[in-house]
C-alpha cells in the first residue's frame, strides 16, 4: 500500500501551485472573469508552454510526460484551490480520455494540439430531458453517404464558448433511452450548422446551449464504435467525476482554511469567535468532511481500472460523499463568516459557488446513491 505521490507528481503540484499563486490570485481571477470572453488565454498558453503541464497525463508517444489519472487529480486539486476557470477538465481530462481510449489518427492529430494549448474541447453530452442519464439522448447522427448529419440540442456545455472542438454524444440508432445506438464524435466547434448561445455560469465559467442544425460530420470524426460508445462515455464521465472530486477537495480545503483563519481573527464578545465551542466543533466537522472527500477521491481514482460495475460503484460512492462535503463545508463556511461571507468581494463566497455547482456536476448526491444501490444492493 502506498499513498505517496512520485517526485514528478509533487513537482507538477509545486509548479502549478506557484504559478497560480503568482498569476491567479482572487483579484486577478475576478478581472479575467469580468473581461471579454471571460478568461485570459495567456494563462492557458503558460500552463501549456512555460509549465508544460497539459501533457502530464498523456503518453510519450503523443509528446506527453507519460502520466495518467493521478496527474489529473494533482492538477485538478490545485486548480480547485485557486477556483481557476481554465478548461483543463473538459480538454485534458475528458477530451484526453476519449482520444487516448480510442487512439487512431484523430488522437494522433488532436492530442499534440491539446498538449500545445491550441485545442480546447467542450463536452456536449447533457440534454434537457435526460438529467444525469447519459443514455437519454435525442440528438441524432444520421448516416449520410460516408459521414453523418447531426441534429439536436445540448444543455449547459461548459467551456463551449472557448472551444475549438466539441465532443458530442449522439444517437446513430436505437430508441431515446437505449444503451445501444450511441456514438461519440469529435467535431470542429465552428462547423456549419453549430449554433451556440453563450453565457457565463454562476461559478465563473462560460458555457453554451448548443443546437446542431444539419451539421455535416465526416466518418473520421467518429470515436470508437458506431452505436457502441456508451461504455466508453461512461468511462470518460467516471474519470471526469473523479477529476471534479479532486477539484472539490481543493475548493473545500480553501473554504475550510479561510474559515479557520477568520474564526481566529474575528473578535466578538471580547474574544476570537474560534473560542466558542459551537464554532470549534463546526470547524472540526468541516475538516472531517474535507479529509473524507480526499480519501474518497483517491479511493475512486485507484479503482478506475476495475471492471465497469466495480468502477462505477466506487465513483458513485466518491461523488455522493464529495457532494455532501461541498454542501456542508460551503454552507458552514458562509455561516461562520456571517454577513461578510455573502458579499461578492470576499473569495469565500466564490469558492462556495463553485462547491455548489460541483454538487450536481456529473450527477447529484441522489443520482449517485441510486446508481450505487442498483449496482451493489441486490434485493
Amino acid at each position: 500500500m502506498d499513498f505517496t505521490y512520485t517526485e514528478t507528481q509533487e513537482m507538477i503540484r509545486d509548479t502549478l501551485a506557484r504559478f497560480l499563486m503568482d498569476n491567479y490570485d482572487f483579484d486577478k481571477r475576478q478581472k479575467m472573469i469580468a473581461s471579454d470572453g471571460g478568461r485570459d488565454p495567456a494563462i492557458w498558453q503558460s500552463i501549456a508552454g512555460e509549465l508544460g503541464l497539459l501533457g502530464a497525463a498523456f503518453g510519450e508517444e503523443y509528446g506527453g510526460l507519460g502520466g495518467g489519472m493521478t496527474e489529473h487529480v494533482v492538477i485538478m486539486e490545485e486548480l480547485g484551490k485557486a477556483i481557476a476557470v481554465e478548461p483543463y477538465l473538459q480538454t485534458a481530462v475528458i477530451g484526453g480520455s476519449a482520444l487516448k481510449s480510442t487512439g487512431g489518427p484523430l488522437a494522433e492529430a488532436v492530442i499534440p494540439q491539446i498538449i500545445s494549448g491550441e485545442a480546447i474541447i467542450a463536452f456536449a453530452y447533457a440534454e434537457p430531458q435526460g438529467r444525469y442519464n447519459l443514455a437519454n439522448l435525442t440528438t441524432t447522427a444520421k448516416k449520410d453517404g460516408s459521414g453523418y448529419t447531426l441534429n439536436g440540442h445540448k444543455s449547459v456545455v461548459y467551456t463551449a464558448p472557448w472551444a475549438t472542438h466539441l465532443l458530442v454524444t449522439a444517437r446513430t440508432g436505437g430508441g431515446s433511452r437505449d444503451r445501444d445506438g450511441i456514438s461519440l464524435f469529435l467535431i470542429d466547434a465552428k462547423a456549419d450548422g453549430v449554433v451556440k448561445r453563450d453565457y457565463p455560469t454562476n461559478d465563473g465559467f462560460m458555457a453554451s446551449e448548443i443546437y446542431f442544425e444539419n451539421v455535416a460530420v465526416g466518418s473520421d470524426a467518429l470515436l470508437g464504435d458506431e452505436g457502441g460508445a456508451l461504455p466508453l462515455i461512461e468511462l470518460i464521465v467516471d474519470e471526469a467525476t473523479v477529476a471534479v472530486c479532486s477539484e472539490a477537495v481543493g475548493v473545500t480545503t480553501r473554504l475550510h482554511a479561510d474559515t479557520l483563519e477568520y474564526s481566529k481573527q474575528r473578535q466578538q464578545f471580547g474574544q476570537p469567535i474560534g473560542r466558542f465551542q459551537v464554532l470549534q466543533h463546526r470547524l472540526v466537522d468541516m475538516m472531517m468532511e474535507v479529509e473524507q472527500a480526499k480519501s474518497m477521491t483517491l479511493m475512486a481514482m485507484l479503482r478506475l481500472d476495475l471492471p465497469a460495475e466495480e468502477r462505477m460503484a466506487a465513483v458513485s460512492q466518491a461523488k455522493a460523499k464529495v457532494g455532501r462535503a461541498c454542501k456542508f463545508v460551503g454552507q458552514n463556511a458562509i455561516q461562520t463568516h456571517g454577513g461578510i461571507g455573502i458579499t461578492d468581494e470576499l473569495a469565500v463566497g466564490h469558492y462556495f459557488k463553485r462547491a455548489t455547482m460541483i454538487e450536481n456536476q456529473f450527477g447529484s448526491i441522489d443520482h449517485h446513491y441510486v446508481r450505487l444501490e442498483q449496482l451493489t444492493l441486490a434485493a
Partner: protein
C-alpha cells in the same frame, strides 16, 4: 381547543382577499412574475394603497393610525398578503422605528415622524451593525459627541438594507465610553441627506445591491432627534428586536415556496418520468412540508398566547431558527430540481430571442436565490445568537 376561525374572522379574511385582488398594482405583479428586480417606486405603490385603506401598519395602536386589529386578524392579514405574493411592506419604518417612536418618543417626535412613516413619504433604514460589531452589537463604536444642541456623529455602519433609497435612518451610537457597553448607547434619528453621510453599495453573492455601508463623518444631528434618554438607546433596541418578530417564521411565504418546488418537480423530467415521481425528491418535499407544519403550529400556539395577553417571549427565537432553515431548504430543493440549468448566470444578461432559450424560466434565479438565502440564518441575530438566547432565557443555562 379548536382550529377554526370565527365567522367574523372568516369574513375578515374574505375582505382582505377581495381587497388584494381588486387593488394590487398590475404592473408590479407583472414585474414580479417576470422575475425583474423591484425598485423603490414598486414598493411604495403598494405601501400607499394599503395606507389609503388604513391597513399599512397592522400592529400600530389606533391612536397612531393602526387599524385596531387583534393578533388573529393581524395573522390572517399577513397570511393573505403572503399567499397573494404581494411585495413586502418594508419593515424599517412600519415595524421597527415606528413602534420605537410611539413607545419612547416625545409628543413632538410622534407628530413629526409617525404620519410620514405611515404614508410612505419617508423611507427608513437601520444603522445597527458595524464592521466590528455584528453578533456582539453592544460593542458598537460609532461615536456621537454633544456639541451645543447637536450631536456630532462619526463612524461606520454596515449591512444597511436599501439605504440607497432612504430618507431617514435610525442609528445606535455610542455616547458614553466609561460605562458597560449597553449603558452608553443612544438611539438617534438621522436625516440621510445630512452632510457627511456617504452610502456605499455592497454587492452580494447573488449579484444584488440590497445592502450598503453607511459612513458618517462629522454628521450633525439635532438633539431633538434622539429618542428616549441619552445612554438608554439599548432599551429601544431590545424593544425593537421583540417587535421584529412579526412574520419572522415566514410560514405563508414558505408554503408558497413549497408549492413552487412542487410545480417545478412536476415540470422537470428526471430521465423518463417527472422529477415529482422520484422517491428521494418526493421524500424531501414531504419532510419539508412536515417541518413547516410543525413551525406553523408552533407559531399558532405563540399567537394564541399573545391573544391571551402574553407578551412575545424568547420563543420568537425558535420561530426565527426554524423559519430561516426552512426558507433555505426550499431554495436548495429548487436548485437541485433544475439540474444542469442551475449553472447559467443571468443577471444583467440580455434576454435574447426566444428561439434559443437557456433552460426553463423558473431555473434562471435558482442559484442566486439559493446563495442569497444564506443570509436568513445570519441576519436579525444569527441563528447561533438565537440559540444562545433560548439557552439563557428559556433553559437558564
Amino acid at each position: 381547543m379548536n382550529l377554526e376561525f370565527s365567522a367574523d374572522e372568516l369574513a375578515f379574511q374574505q375582505e382582505v382577499r377581495d381587497f388584494i385582488a381588486a387593488n394590487y398594482p398590475a404592473d408590479v405583479r407583472a414585474k414580479q412574475d417576470a422575475g425583474e428586480e423591484l425598485g423603490k417606486e414598486d414598493y411604495l405603490k403598494w405601501h400607499r394603497i394599503l395606507f389609503k385603506q388604513g391597513w399599512v401598519a397592522p400592529a400600530w395602536p389606533e391612536e397612531y393610525g393602526g387599524p385596531g386589529w387583534n393578533p388573529t386578524q393581524r395573522f390572517i392579514f399577513s397570511e393573505e398578503i403572503a399567499a397573494a405574493e404581494c411585495v413586502q411592506i418594508l419593515p424599517f419604518g412600519i415595524n421597527m422605528v415606528g413602534p420605537v417612536i410611539y413607545t419612547f418618543g416625545t409628543p413632538e417626535q410622534k407628530e413629526r415622524f409617525l404620519p410620514r412613516i405611515l404614508s410612505g413619504e419617508d423611507w427608513w433604514c437601520q444603522g445597527y451593525s458595524e464592521p466590528g460589531s455584528g453578533s456582539d452589537l453592544a460593542s458598537l463604536r460609532t461615536k456621537a459627541v454633544l456639541d451645543g444642541d447637536e450631536y456630532v456623529v462619526n463612524g461606520q455602519k454596515t449591512w444597511t438594507t436599501l439605504a440607497q433609497h432612504a430618507d431617514w435612518g435610525f442609528f445606535l451610537v455610542r455616547t458614553d465610553n466609561e460605562v458597560k457597553p449597553q449603558e452608553g448607547i443612544s438611539f438617534l434619528l438621522i436625516d440621510m441627506k445630512s452632510p457627511g453621510i456617504e452610502v456605499k453599495p455592497i454587492i452580494t453573492l447573488g449579484g444584488h445591491h440590497e445592502v450598503n455601508e453607511v459612513w458618517l463623518e462629522d454628521v450633525r444631528v439635532p438633539v431633538d432627534q434622539r429618542i428616549y434618554e441619552e445612554n438608554k438607546g439599548w432599551t429601544c433596541a431590545k424593544f425593537l428586536l421583540a417587535h421584529e418578530r412579526t412574520g419572522i417564521a415566514a410560514v405563508a411565504r414558505s408554503k408558497r415556496g413549497i408549492e413552487k418546488v412542487k410545480d417545478i418537480a412536476r415540470s422537470e423530467l428526471d430521465d423518463e418520468k417527472p422529477l415529482m415521481a422520484n422517491p428521494f425528491f418526493r421524500r424531501k418535499i414531504a419532510e419539508l412540508e412536515t417541518d413547516l407544519t410543525a413551525l406553523e403550529f408552533t407559531e399558532l400556539r405563540s399567537l394564541a398566547g399573545e391573544n391571551a395577553g402574553k407578551g412575545p417571549g424568547p420563543e420568537a427565537s425558535l420561530l426565527k431558527i426554524k423559519g430561516s432553515e426552512i426558507q433555505q431548504r426550499i431554495t436548495e430543493l429548487v436548485l437541485e430540481a433544475v439540474g444542469h440549468y442551475g449553472a447559467p448566470y443571468f443577471r444583467g444578461f440580455p434576454e435574447g430571442s426566444n428561439e434559443y432559450p437557456i433552460g426553463p424560466d423558473y431555473a434562471h434565479q435558482a442559484a442566486p436565490t439559493y446563495f442569497n438565502a444564506r443570509k436568513t440564518t445570519i441576519y436579525g441575530g444569527s441563528n447561533e445568537i438565537q440559540r444562545n438566547i433560548i439557552s439563557k432565557m428559556v433553559l437558564g443555562l
